[in-house]
Amino acid sequence: MGDGMRPQINRLPADSPKGMAGSLIDRSRPIRFRLDGRLVAGFVGDTVLSAALASGIDTLGLFRDSPIGLTPRATPAISHASLANDKQRALPMARTLAQDGADYVTLGGNRPGALARLFQPGRTLGLVVDDQRVLDLPWRTVPGIPGPKADLLVIGAGVAGMAAALAGARAGLSVVLAESNPHVGGHSGLFGAQEGEDRAEDSMARLAADVAANPAITMLTATRVFSLRQGLARAHQVDMQSGTAQGRVIDIEAPRIVLATGAIERLPIFAGNRLPGVIGTLDAYELATRYGVWAGQSALVATSSSPAYRLAMLASDAGITIGRIYDSRPRPASRFIEFSRAYGIVQSPGTAPVEVGIARAGGSLSLTVDSADAEPLRTERILVCGGWQPDLTLWHVAGGNSRWHPGHARLEATGTQDNIVLAGSAAGYQTRRGCIQSGADAVDQLLVRPRKGVDDPLIDPLYESPDAPATIAEPRPDAPPCFLDGGTAMLQRPAPPRRRWFAARRLQMSGLLVLSEAPQPLAVCDVAAGVDLGLIPQAAAGIVAQERVALVPLAQHRELPAAEPDAPPAWPEVPAWLRGRYGRGAQVVRLVPQEARSFAPGALIYRSPDARHPRDAVGVVLHQTAEGTFGLVAAQLASADLPVTIRDKGSAQARIQPL
């Protein structure tokens, strides 16, 4: 392209089968916009992120000289170039629909330089990811403006959230349904259908249509709730104003709240787990099915959960070469595994990744696994899955408790909160049927109605192996960094305490020795990884997750009480902490110095000019006013004209004058 526009090298063909062409983009309506000065092509329906990824921009920047991938869970805030200095109007890259002709810049952290930012070459946004604030969300500190009010707020428009919203409307409640993505539906698609279920896409579409047709439900898309307390939620919303995307922070009042925030995909812990080209299976699936975005023509899979096999088959149908699937489970069983075997995809059970490196500049990766006889394999992309963690972030923000479930290897909510309930996979349900039913069940809980129970029909483990815990590789010398999670916290694996400090440095681990010193909030997956690594005892996982959640206090505005004036007293007072200090009967006396000078209150008084030790002190200066200097002295000294020494910036002689 002669105009400097980046070709959409990572866009799947329009005729890709099984939804991999992208359901949200309109390929007949191309757009182009600038991102940090670069021309980026896309289609109507693209987000700024999906268009950037489609154009091959897949790198956030450098972290300790190692590139870090740009993924839906780790994006910088952006802004219209004309508003770049107004961080309150910043926008989320993954939630902002790209607009033709727009000029966006990325925000956050230090840059190599303004010019470098504007003319950043290649596949990187050029951010200095070492700066812990690089992925800050500026709107989190912005006070909210009044937003909609409703009887019920449902957070998350996946199948559980939509079912909850519909159940609320059926119960006669006005409902606000807030969804962080620009679209509704959630993430059921990756998980396919069980026997007797309809297609996930059909289920999502049917619920979405019912929601859209229900006048009692106000749908807020691109609206991410980031703080919560009983009766009030604060959200950042991308709103179209005069045809331009604008960010704003709104407060949503609702006496009842359903949290249907879904589950987060865990990141297996190995060196290089955030290099460009390493991506979670859910992110890869969503990018492909929503936007037709897929990087590279070959991929390897490393998983401890079965839906990854389904993604491998879908990718294979779309013409992607799946070199091999590594599964940490020694004998995994799944309908997806059986099907993928029929695709001829090579499977390596009982094998986990230990390191990913850059094999060749330009996108080729090298994957090393924990099998002694396996040579590192090259590929363009590595799809990883370390299992699923219910997203309890807002549950914790609102004060909810959780505890570690050793069998499920995840944090699960415990207890109840007044007028706030969980639904769907956030509540721990694992099947689509269970998630949908839990939405209605959540409303029953809120309305204190008889509950009908939730049918969450898990397949017998003999036929459908449960997820294994996220894999953990031993640290390797001179390897790329290893992170605990794929989100914005960028928390590197802490180095174990070592007396030989250079050992940690050689292993390229963080300078962080313990999680308590991490200066960023710990996402729920960071905590889960901390448990897996033995850095957090299982019994403490829930309390750590709650106390390290990213909280924005939602206090009612109040006037702080005016501080009481703390002026010197008119007459010397003896504070309680001096009680008995100089024996019973200590008295307040006037101190008459030989030479006029000031003394600090609290200065020590000695009987002898030679005495210096506080244990030898016989009194203390209390107060100095125009009427003189006053002190507290031992009773036997409170006689007229007794000489004493006051030590304060040197020493001074004085005489005692009883009052």
Binding site: Q132, R133, D136, R140, T141, P497, R499, G511, L512, L513, V514, L515, S516, E517, A518, P519, Q520, G530, L535, I536, P537, A540, I543, V544, Q546, E547, R548, V549, A550, L551, V552, P553, A555, P565, D566, A567, P568, E573, V574, P575, A576, W577, L578, R579, G580, R581, A600, P601, G602, A603, L604, R612, H613, P614, R615, A617, V620, L622, R647, D648
Partner: protein, 358 residues
């Protein structure tokens, strides 16, 4: 587990509790069971261990300064060099009354040979007075805790995760752990949490009150004027974290506390929370620490110790093992938890509390 009763059951997760258990076993030859594990590796800061404190009594300063070399050697041996650091904390105050206490602490510290310098108002903000205490020693809890396990094991301390604890009025403890019962002749509740968790309410000493505190951690921001700062008025402690965040703890609920910390840091330095929690601690009515047996005959408690408690561990162990020096015995004897208004006063200035006249 042996059927022979242990001599001491020490409860607590702070460095004082853990050091105490190990010293009673290794130095004084007692059979010790310990209930409580350090949490500094994964929990927010809820206390610090510092060799200086806002102390106004010379006897207490003497205890602290005499203990310093012994504790420094002990902690280095357990946790390596990283377990200790030299810091220059700043104590600061606003208003006449708290400034007077600050000034008195300054004179006391100087009298005990500590280099103290005034701090410029430009570093603290208008209307604030401050002092910097040079070359204080701080125990780095995570590093110490990393070495405590092996040290306690070598000392022969039995560590238990208690499922149930019964403390008799004569101080004897029965601990149910892993389905078995363990008996210790004397209970030592060696920190505030242990006292609140295990001391039967009917034995609660009148001297102690619960206080609600908050701990927060901020995201990285401009560094503090000193690694540790204590505001006398509010009792807020600010500590600079190695990774750029600021940890703060002090009295109050989250909202008020966060506002107060923001006010201290200045409105030009907006910060976000990277962690927050509420917890309870104990304060004594006279501001001084409390030791000894509840009601004179029950469980031993160590409470309301402020930031210097860990430095008292060797002396406390000697006192419990009846081998304290006369000075140490006198000091602990004056700070008994069942002291009354008729006892020899030991009141201390308590940061964060209102002004009370004698």
């Amino acid at each position: 587990m042996s059927d022979t009763p242990y001599d001491f059951a020490v409860f607590g997760a702070t460095p004082l509790a853990q050091l105490l258990a190990g010293l009673l076993a290794s130095v004084h030859g007692r059979r010790v069971v310990l209930v409580g594990e350090g949490q500094a590796g994964y929990r927010l800061v809820r206390g610090i261990d510092l060799s200086v404190a806002p102390i106004t009594r010379p006897e207490s300063w003497a205890m602290l300064t005499q203990a310093l070399p012994e504790v420094t050697r002990l902690v280095s041996r357990i946790g390596g060099r990283g377990a200790l650091s030299r810091v220059n904390p700043i104590f600061f105050a606003e208003g006449w009354h708290h400034a007077m206490a600050l000034s008195h602490v300054q004179h006391m510290a100087q009298g005990f040979g500590i280099a103290v310098e005034p701090v410029s108002q430009s570093l603290l903000g208008e209307g604030r007075q401050g002092i910097m205490l040079r070359d204080a020693v701080r125990i780095n809890r995570p590093a110490l805790e990393a070495g405590l396990g092996k040290w306690l094991e070598r000392a022969g301390v039995t560590r238990l995760q208690a499922q149930k604890v019964s403390i008799a009025s004569d101080g004897q403890a029965e601990i149910i752990a892993e389905g078995a019962a363990v008996v210790a002749k004397q209970t030592v509740l060696a920190d505030d949490d242990a006292v609140m968790a295990w001391l039967p309410l009917r034995q609660w000493p009148a001297l102690l009150r619960r206080q609600h505190l908050t701990s927060i951690l901020t995201t990285p921001t401009q560094p503090l004027a000193a690694g540790i700062m204590l505001q006398f008025n509010s009792g807020i402690v600010l500590t600079q974290q190695a990774e750029g965040g600021i940890a703060a703890f002090g009295p109050g609920g989250l909202s008020d506390f966060a506002d107060a910390v923001q006010a201290l840091l200045g409105q030009n330095r907006p910060v976000e929370l990277a962690g927050q929690t509420g917890f309870q601690a104990l304060q004594s009515l006279d501001g001084a620490p409390a030791f000894g047996r509840v009601a004179g005959v029950g469980a031993d408690v160590a409470a309301a110790l402020g930031c210097a408690g860990a430095f008292l561990a060797p002396a406390y162990a000697r006192w419990l093992a009846s081998s304290a020096s006369p000075e140490e015995a006198a000091w602990f004897g004056a700070h008994l938890v069942n002291r009354s208004a008729k006892s020899q006063p030991v009141a201390e200035y308590a940061p964060g509390h209102g002004w009370v006249t004698a």
